[in-house]
């Protein structure tokens, strides 16, 4: 998961997409173009233009060195024939359970458990719980490579309580069955702290009167959660859902460091496939196509989540 601060706040911005920006205020001044120009020139030259170039390249079969040959949509139809691409997307969907679904569920559960009392020293907990998200992904990936080592903490602990045979001979990251879930747990560890803090902050903002009203109406803890807490966290839920889903879809750092896509292609993900095809196997056209499709999926998912949350608001 690449849930660095960049993505965290990036998704925050997306959360606001659902509200049309109110009519832009301010005086009508053409000097505005001058202020926006430097940022826009850089942004257009290195984000928008390459996007079009990428789309163009994705219609070629190109090894990156000699002139490419036009192949139309072959690079895209390859998605349904090439098993490694299909595998890449199924892996990332599985990872989404660990990177998005579980942290949110756990975060919500814990936030609900920690009732609304002012917690002194919350900042200390906030710092510690934020660390996994803030520290460089490569560092946390290296740390977890050690955690998953044959005689790292997890294996030793299991052996200590007599479950040594559970430890896969190939090592957690080397075994075909445990490699992907292992990366998943790494993402869960990275995300659950942020979710907990975000939801706690959200719960703190829910007016106390709502809780008192629910209590007066005789709501038990469960009913209170669904009647007050959950609706109160609607906005946080939407943002963290978008954040973690996008974070999962363009995962790269930990896959490169921890498993290199292995064993075999058991943990290959779209972003890793793009890198591999661009650099290792010289399938540049296909790498471009993979990137474009990944972007389209991210668009669709973000739009869907915003739309679902939007309808949720009106319901």
């Amino acid at each position: 998961m690449d849930p660095g601060p960049q993505v965290a706040t990036r998704a925050a911005a997306l959360g606001s997409l659902r509200r049309r920006p109110e009519r832009l205020p301010g005086e009508a001044r053409r000097i505005g173009y001058l202020y926006v120009a430097p940022a826009f020139i850089l942004y257009a030259a290195f984000n928008l233009l390459p996007l079009f170039q990428g789309i163009n390249i994705s219609f070629y079969n190109w090894d990156g060195i000699t002139p490419g040959t036009w192949v139309g949509l072959d690079n895209y139809t390859e998605f349904f024939t090439d098993p490694t691409i299909l595998a890449g997307y199924t892996h990332v969907l599985i990872l989404m359970i660990f990177y998005a679904f579980l942290p949110i569920v756990i975060g919500l559960f814990l936030a609900a458990l920690i009732s609304r009392i002012r917690i002194r020293g919350l900042t200390v907990f906030r710092i510690l719980l934020f660390l996994p998200l803030v520290i460089t992904d490569v560092v946390t990936a290296v740390a977890w490579t050690w955690v998953y080592d044959i005689n790292g903490p997890i294996s030793t602990a299991l052996r200590a309580i007599g479950l040594g045979r559970l430890v896969p001979a190939q090592g957690w990251l080397g075994d075909f069955n445990t490699a992907l879930p292992a990366v998943g747990v790494f993402g869960l560890w990275g995300g659950f702290g942020f979710c907990l803090i975000l939801f706690l902050a959200g719960v703190m903002k829910i007016p106390a009167s709502l809780y008192e009203a629910a209590r007066v109406d005789g709501a038990n803890a469960i009913r209170e959660f669904f009647a007050v807490t959950l609706p109160g966290l609607r906005y946080e839920l939407q943002v963290v859902l978008v954040l973690s889903v996008i974070g999962t879809l363009d995962t790269f750092d930990e896959i490169y460091v921890m498993t290199g896509g292995g064993p075999g292609t058991a943990t290959s993900v779209p972003a890793y496939l793009v890198w591999r095809r661009l650099f290792q196997t010289g399938q540049v056209g296909s790498a471009a196509a993979l990137g474009i499709v990944l972007m389209l999926i991210i668009f669709a998912v973000t739009w869907a989540i915003n739309r679902a949350m939007e309808r949720g608001n009106e319901a």
Binding site: P5, Q6, A8, T9, A12, A13, L14, S16, L24, G26, R29, G32, Y33, Y35, V36, P38, A39, Y43, A45, F46, N47, L51, Q53, G54, L110, I114, S115, I117, I119, F125, L131, P132, V134, I135, T136, D137, V138, V139, V142, A143, W146, P153, W189, F192, I197, L198, A201, E236, L243, D250, F252, Y256, P270, A271, V274, L278, F279, V284, G291, I292
Partner: protein, 276 residues
């Protein structure tokens, strides 16, 4: 709302939060401890006991073997050029979008918002060949330009929200007082939005320091710290102590920045997440 909370509930909260915190920091503490085990493939720290001897020397060897001197310089140079540039451009752009109406400004703003959703993977392929054509491969400038062009999208969104929160009368007073848009920006709006600017600076630094994919693609000798660590851990897979030392070295700068600017990080990621 402290009324009916029983002592047990408070104790339970602290217990739960402490447990979560332990889970969150255990791998980092573990790797820090592992880095003090004697080097060599068979030192295999199990992560529970303290290292037999505190092999502080690992850090020196890791620093040299992993050539972190060069990768740290790269990361620092890139950050120290990229962060101010990106923040400045974001302030200028955000200011324009917040306080001025010009034809097409809404479309332009949405174009930037689009940037938040375009993953690096979608543009990396052509970018590689463009940068190579410009002869910028393996230069600090490649990283600086690409990171700034990536950060600006979010930066402008962030600064626009910050400037919009200023009372409109402030701007109008400045217009009447005869202050040009430039003076208004630097004498009035920027001081007003200082907290938001500090947050943006901290977040931009974190993104730059943690950048890995761009470094991997665009640099060869001039690796950034994370790329240096990845290459180092790739070559010394067996020597866990040494690799762990490398990991701790790369973690230190961002850790320091986070501890110092913890409030800014929080505001950036929480209110940002909520205010949107």
């Amino acid at each position: 709302m402290n009324t009916t909370a029983s002592r047990a509930q408070v104790a339970f909260n602290y217990a739960l939060l402490t447990l979560c915190s332990i889970i969150a920091i255990y791998p980092l503490i573990g790797v820090a401890l592992a880095s003090l085990y004697p080097p060599g493939p068979d030192s295999a720290p199990s992560g529970f006991g303290l290292p037999p001897t505190f092999a502080w020397h690992n850090y020196v060897t890791a620093w040299e073997q992993g050539k972190f001197a060069t990768s740290f310089t790269t990361s620092l140079i890139v950050a120290f050029v990229m962060v101010p540039a990106s923040v400045l451009l974001s302030i200028l752009g955000g200011y324009a979008f917040a306080t001025m109406r010009f034809w097409g400004s809404t479309v332009l703003f949405y174009l930037f918002i689009l940037g938040l959703i375009i993953p690096t993977e979608a543009t990396i392929v052509p970018l590689y060949y463009d940068v190579r054509a410009m002869g910028l491969l393996d230069t600090y400038w490649a990283l600086i330009i690409l990171e700034v062009s990536g950060e600006v999208a979010f930066g402008i969104f962030w600064m626009r929200a910050a400037f919009l929160s200023a009372p409109p009368s402030l701007l109008e007073a400045a217009r009447i007082d005869g202050s040009s848009s430039w003076t208004t920006l630097w004498r009035i709006m920027v001081p007003f939005a200082k907290p938001a600017i500090l947050t943006l600076t901290v977040l931009t630094f974190a993104d730059s320091w943690n950048e890995f994919f761009l470094a991997l693609v665009f640099t060869v000798n001039k690796f950034t710290a994370p790329a240096g660590l990845a290459s180092f851990s790739g070559r010394y897979t067996t020597d866990i102590a040494l690799v762990s030392a490398g990991a701790v070295i790369v973690a230190i700068p961002i850790l320091i920045v986070f501890i110092i600017f913890q409030r800014e990080f929080m505001r950036g990621m929480l209110t940002g997440a909520v205010k949107g």
